[in-house]
């Protein structure tokens, strides 16, 4: 179990780098970092500020602007796709029209009356993405979103993420799928044993450089 210490104030420079990819070996704390930013966990020490929101005081406000896609779909198996979205729309005070819109974006309109427990992993993940963008969050956090996705679902996710960056939303993503994810990101950070040891804008990286960057960073490139 990794201790939850963030060494310094973690501040994402959102304006300059709207889509950040965080890579790192297993147990480096990627999921923990995302959970802390999503207000699901509290760090055992250190301060966290997300955009203008100082945590933990402004947690409740921040949640209005956050969407999370994690490895688990966060969906109810015994409800249909539509009912799941209906439930979350009530919690976020979203109108019902948006549900239709979201189902359309993730390509699940035809399956809206099917129970989620009968969905494939790819479909569940698509619906999970739908749930995450239901309330049009300014910040989207994704934890290994490509895991278990089929081709179609992967493409939907790609276009979604590209669209986000264009619309000025911030995306923070962790992924093992280095090349694919790096194509969508504007910056790549390397997390190792709970610290960000290297960071580089993708404009300065070619795909071969990315793998070098990863290896280099793991050898201990020093704190940023």
């Amino acid at each position: 179990m990794i201790p939850r210490t963030l060494e310094k104030t973690v501040e994402r420079a959102m304006r300059t780098f709207p889509a950040v990819l965080i890579i790192g070996p297993r147990q480096s704390g990627k999921t923990t970092l995302l959970r802390i930013l999503a207000t699901l966990s509290r760090p055992t020490s250190g301060l966290v500020r997300v955009a203008a929101y100082q945590l933990p005081q402004a947690e409740a406000d921040l949640r209005n602007h956050l969407g999370l896609v994690s490895h688990q779909p966060l969906l109810y198996g015994d409800l249909t796709a539509e009912e799941n979205l209906q439930f979350f729309s009530k919690l976020y005070s979203i109108s019902e029209d948006r549900i239709r819109e979201v189902l359309d974006i993730v390509g699940l309109v035809k399956r809206k009356d099917d129970l989620v427990r009968n969905f494939s992993r790819g479909m569940q993940q698509r619906l999970a993405i739908g749930r995450a963008i239901l309330h049009n969050p300014q910040i989207l956090l994704l934890d290994e979103p490509y895991t278990g996705l089929d081709q179609e679902a992967g493409e939907i996710l790609d276009s979604l993420l590209l669209g986000n960056a264009r619309e000025g939303r911030t995306v923070l993503m962790t992924s093992h799928n280095l090349v694919r994810a790096a194509n969508l990101a504007t910056r790549v950070d390397l997390l190792s044993r709970g610290r960000i040891t290297a960071s580089v804008p993708t404009s300065q990286l070619g795909s071969k450089d990315l793998i070098e960057f990863y290896r280099e960073g793991l050898r201990g490139g020093g704190p940023v």
Binding site: R35, A38, T39, L40, S41, R42, A60, D61, R63, N64, L66, L68, S70, Q72, P73, L74, L75, Y76, G77, D78, L79, E83, F87, F88, K90, L91, Y92, S93, L115, R131
Partner: protein, 224 residues
């Protein structure tokens, strides 16, 4: 305030909708309750004389055991597929989860009790349809559901979750059981209300105190 109530309503609606799909939880509770009554019937060999004084005890024991099953399942659903995180991400107060789940649990308990009572009446000829007695059933169930919901939310995050809930819950809810049984006996034996109204007062006091404490403490149960 309205969005708060809407959120609580949403949680309750979700649980009802999901339960209605396959009614697994309800049938499990119901079958278990009837089995317990059957076992008591043979184990205690209730004769007519003994019935009046023992039946209240048998009834409440049945409710308690059936209630535990419902409580466990209700929170297990949230643990499945990580749904609890979905609730925690929503921009609603944590207490919404408490009240939503507790009211849902209470409703399921009452539903099961509503079916078990006529069966009891049929088997043992006890007049269970007195409004006073039904009031006691509701009061006792409220206290049990409130403490049970809080504890099951805790327990579902522990490793030994299956056995832990009854161990933690039963000692704490003993006052409810004692008071509910004494008050029920009063109604069954047609005693004048003044003689046993103190037990009803105790039930009300317990409900108020524990709902208040559970409300105050619930945030800490879900903090991570």
């Amino acid at each position: 305030m309205r969005s708060y109530l809407r959120a609580v309503g949403a949680v309750i609606w979700k649980d009802f909708r999901a339960e209605w799909r396959n009614r697994e939880n309800l049938s499990a509770m119901l079958v278990f309750a009837l089995l317990v009554i059957l076992i008591f019937n043979f184990a205690l060999e209730l004769d007519l004389q003994a019935r009046a004084s023992l039946s209240a005890g048998v009834l409440w024991t049945t409710f308690i055991f059936a209630g535990t099953i419902g409580l466990n399942r209700s929170l297990a659903v949230e643990k499945d597929r990580g749904c609890l995180d979905g609730l925690l991400l929503a921009p609603v107060d944590r207490s919404v989860i408490f009240f939503g789940k507790a009211i849902g649990n209470l409703a399921f308990m009452l539903l099961v009790e509503a079916i078990v009572l006529p069966v009891f009446n049929f088997l043992y000829g006890l007049n269970v349809f007195q409004p006073g007695f039904l009031g006691v059933v509701v009061l006792g169930s409220i206290g049990y559901a409130a403490v049970g919901t809080l504890l099951s939310t805790m327990v579902v995050q522990a490793r030994t979750r299956d056995i832990l809930l009854p161990i933690l819950l039963f000692p704490l809810t003993l006052p409810v059981v004692i008071a509910a049984v004494k008050a029920s006996q009063g109604f069954f034996q047609n005693l004048p209300l003044g003689e046993f109204s103190v037990w009803i007062n105790l039930l009300v006091a317990y409900d108020l105190i524990f709902i208040a404490v559970a409300f105050m403490v619930f945030d800490y149960v879900l903090e991570d």
